[in-house]
Subunit: 343 residues, 2 copies
DNA sequence: AGATGCTATGTAAACCTTTACATAGATGAT
DNA sequence: ATCATCTATGTAAAGGTTTACATAGCATCT
């Protein structure tokens, strides 16, 4: 029963007194085998504790039941809940997920490419906005792939994310509704396309409210806590200060709050701050950060579902799935204080 | 070159004008093949872009180059940095990592067992303190395994973690040095063995300082933010309050800080609080949480290294590796205020 | 009764490797 | 010159599956 070596399809066939072909059919195409036979087979499977050897199956079929997930950084606070969604969906369809991170290192990217070439993964989920395979990308034979968060720059790959423009719009609109006009956008146009879209949302909101270019301040950061802190420093060197900071992501917002705190200002009394992403930390800042939530687990689920569909149909039903971002109001936003407002 | 179907060892053999056996040998036992032949083979490999088909290799060898990592919850803030360590170490030895989470669901545990039975993983990393395979655990054929954070309850499996007793000791000692005597320990003796050890560190520290049992308060929680909050409520129902809260982990500490904050108290003026783990959030609390750091990436690295050793040697060099936990002093601890101290 | 078609099952090849065993050639010892 | 060794390579089997093709039994139709 629980022998030292696992049961093979031959063991099952012997006990059920049929051929191995019939066993295989009983498992994968039950309608093709007689009821009585099917019964004998399932009994034999129960007796032996047989499980299909995945390696043999993959070898024969020419593809595995593993999905490779590549992210630039597994430690990213956005990563783990996405993973939950991906994993659940994959598992329930008989797939496993395999994770890798590139740390923006081309060498590692290449290793994953080799990995794919050796047939170890049937599909690919990409977190980065780019295919991380360097100059070999063009000639690479890639399995069906889908991107998460943003379109993949150099490959015609469907993706699942959030409507960044709409999300950013919700943040500006809140700020505008509170009475802010001079709103600084602390952005990052280099690392991720999604960030550029968020800026578009900011501009659109300002346009719609009739706020002129003279009241807009846009600073480029790189999406890190440190860059948020730095942005504050830069702003204090200029002669005009905003009454609110709209940040491209929560990390930046946290940096801004730290920078403002270090100068002795109170949020939201002196300045309002918004983020984007709703990382777990956001709720525990003091004050708790008002931000835009990305439904991460759901994104993961949809991304995997789309990939699985691709795997069976070959054709993507849709080329992008945009989920709705939600405004989550906490305590980092209030009306501008008189002092600043009259400046 | 970048054909539709990947090159096999036969393609390489044909181009190099040798047999497939020689190609295989040139790759895996280069010293067994003549220099001239080796050269021809590597040229042929370069031309074809050949990569060994991992499925075929695993099938022939009877084991894969994948390591299964099972955690109760991927979303755990402790998880991702461990993953980084695991992944880096595995990758550099030609292994990939496969992740799964059980969510404490026995059904899912069984799925992973089937997974292992189908030979898809050469080794197993366990985050839970238990083997998550229900009643089948006893009879299960398990591959070489190692635990992370704490010993695996029902299997003689080596593990890598932090010295929890020593870590907890550092926390109490800090509190004692600041002058606290009445220190409450908010613990959790149910979910993880590591937590029980932390309590042992607390008791040992109190013993060493000669603080009697009448000044010790121990409350049982379950390691969540909510349970920390609840502990505070309970304590306020009693007639005596501690001057400091030593919490079994950061989540609990965060809960305690929230509870105390809600009642209008200031930390660390009115109460001191310590955590354990140093989750990313801890640094951004207000006040920033004084806690005990687990070197997570390092733990991951060591755990994987140990597993890889097991995989090649068969015998574990050591049965447990305990890393040193570090005290990280931030702003949630100070001397007890006069008011409470004289109580 | 013979032809036809359908259903359920079996036989054997293929997927790509690794490696035990065989072989051939070269070297060295007697 | 014969034999033993050694080195470099080739041949073929094995690993566990899936599936095209073959076959056998049976029912249906003319």
């Amino acid at each position: 029963m629980s022998n030292s070596t696992p049961a093979t399809i031959e063991d099952v066939a012997r006990i059920a007194e049929v051929s191995i072909a019939t066993v295989s059919r009983a498992i994968h195409m039950p309608e093709k085998v007689a009821n009585s036979t099917r019964l004998k087979v399932s009994q034999a499977i129960a007796i032996t504790g047989y499980t299909t050897n995945a390696m043999a199956r993959s070898l024969r079929l020419g593809r595995s039941n593993m999905i490779l997930v590549v992210a630039p950084d597994i430690g990213d606070p956005n990563f783990s809940s996405i993973l939950v969604g991906l994993e659940n969906e994959a598992r329930s369809h008989g797939y496993g997920i395999l994770i890798g991170h590139t740390q923006n290192d081309a060498q590692r990217g290449l290793e994953y490419l080799k990995f794919l070439n050796s047939n170890q993964a049937a599909g690919l989920i990409l977190f980065t906005g780019i295919l991380p395979f360097g100059h070999q990308t063009m000639t690479a034979r890639l399995p069906p792939s889908v991107g998460v968060f943003e379109p993949v720059f150099n490959g015609g790959i469907p993706y699942v994310g959030v409507d960044d423009i709409e999300g950013a719009r919700k943040a500006v609109d809140l700020l505008l509704a509170e009475g802010h006009r001079k709103i600084a956008f602390i952005g990052d146009s280099r690392t991720r396309l999604a960030y550029t879209r968020r800026r578009m949302g900011y501009e659109a909101g300002m346009d719609a409210a009739g706020v002129g270019a003279d009241l807009r301040i846009v600073l480029e950061g790189d999406g890190t806590i440190e860059s948020g802190r730095l942005a504050v420093e830069q702003l204090f060197m200029r002669d005009t200060l905003p009454t609110a900071f709209m940040c491209v992501n929560d990390q930046t917002a946290i940096g801004v709050m730290i920078g403002l705190g270090a100068r002795g200002y109170d949020i939201p009394r002196d300045f309002s701050v918004t983020g984007f992403d709703d990382v777990p930390q956001a709720a525990f800042m003091s004050p708790a950060l008002t931000t835009i939530r990305q439904p991460r687990t759901l994104i993961g689920k949809h991304a995997m579902a789309l990939l699985l569909e691709l795997l069976s149909d070959g054709q993507p039903a849709e080329t992008e799935i945009l989920l709705r971002p939600d405004l989550v109001v906490r305590n980092s936003v209030s009306a501008p204080s008189r002092e600043w407002a009259t400046r």
